[in-house]
Amino acid sequence: MRNADCGMISDLTLRDPHSAFRISLFDYLLRLADSCLILSQRLGEWCGRGPALEEDLALTNVALDLNGQAQLWLEYASQIEGKGRTEDQLAFLRDAHEFRNLLLVEQANGDFAVTITRQFYFDLWHSLLLQELLHSSDQRICGISEKALKEVQYHLRRSAGWVARLGDGTEESHTRMQRAAKELWQFTGELFEIDAVDEAMVQQKIGPDPRTLQSPWMDRVKSTFTEATLAWPDAGWMQRGGKCGIHTERLGYLLAEMQFLQRAYPGAQW
């Protein structure tokens, strides 16, 4: 049990709903939640269309884990916001500019190579981040991270395994993987950028400096790509903006589908 490391944020910091720290924490929790939620929705699009039955099950099982994690983060975000918005309302009634997910996870599924490469880039970053969050000064964040990390390490095992097999597979699979690795590379810079919200979290020992995750991430990508006989993607222009609500046009279409029911029938329940 790792919780012995975790202290509590002082009640004082949280008592004022308008405190700058509280607003930053809300934003930070939305970032954690939204990347899980949006990737879950993307993976769910594979349901019934997987290249093999086993893959169909795997993709949707990963989607299910991420959906559960998003729910845990949104529950906490809802309490921190303290305005009576539930986790469902946060998921289904925010518009694109209010979403804080990484640009990487909203990208279209493309072929299986794109889906797997996107998953590998994300899983690796996600597992490194959660490992750091185990030592957060916020006990609730420690608890959710401990639970999520077990699932995410399993996701990483699968996505890294596929990158190696497909990269070092047939000529066709190699070409597709190489293309996917390069296409998605422009969305990986954002994973390691720091802004005012991250700085506030670092200061309160809530979360890590995202820049510290970059070197272990690069090392593992390098070793996996070497195993997969994939060339290192050319460094070029890095896209940014997801963390502060500036998204690619793809997110709007995704939300239109995900939020349709609650928009058309507000408050509908099972």
Binding site: L57, L64, G68, Q71, L72, G143, I144, E146, Q153, R158
Partner: protein
């Protein structure tokens, strides 16, 4: 409410009859989901607090399990029940009871074969014992099976496919 509150031992026994909705041969107690029971006082009335730890974050069975626990207790006359969800420490297959593992094997699901806390659960698991013929000549077909907690294996000795309750 019953005139005198049932003992916690008695309640543990009752909950040992509440089965997992997706693997109906193992109880929520043997799965290690029910962590703690205690009575407290709620406006002069006794109230039972049931602390549970869910298995996987997105497992849809969790909601059904909560409902089944409340229903089972209600049938025994305990209507003032509060279910508390505790995430940490995170659920692990180490909490499965020996009785639970035996039930899984008899049902055709290979139980987890080593500690989930060893830190190596991210590595592939090999030589899982086939629950039908006992051979270790088995291989993984898919890391994900019919529920989040299982992987899909096949036995190369008896040729039967089987589910493996993976270490977590």
């Amino acid at each position: 409410m019953p005139a005198t509150s049932p003992t916690l031992d008695q309640i543990w026994n009752w909950l040992a009859a509440v089965v997992d909705p997706e693997i109906p041969v193992i109880s929520v107690v043997d799965l290690g989901i029910v962590r703690k029971l205690n009575w407290c006082e709620d406006q002069g009335e006794p109230k039972l607090i049931v602390t549970i730890t869910p298995t996987y974050s997105g497992c849809p069975a969790t909601a059904v399990i909560k409902r089944d626990i409340v229903t089972a207790l209600g049938e025994r006359g305990i209507t003032n029940v509060q279910i508390e969800t505790r995430l940490a420490p995170a659920w692990t297959t180490d909490w499965l009871s020996e009785q639970g593992k035996r039930c899984l094997r008899e049902y055709g699901i290979a139980p987890p074969q080593r500690s989930g806390c060893s830190g190596s659960y991210a590595e592939n698991e090999a030589a899982i014992e086939c629950p039908r013929c006992g051979s270790k000549n088995t291989r993984v077909v898919s890391q994900f099976g019919s529920t989040p907690c299982k992987a899909f294996y096949v036995c190369d000795a008896c040729r039967e496919p089987f589910d493996y309750f993976k270490c977590h």
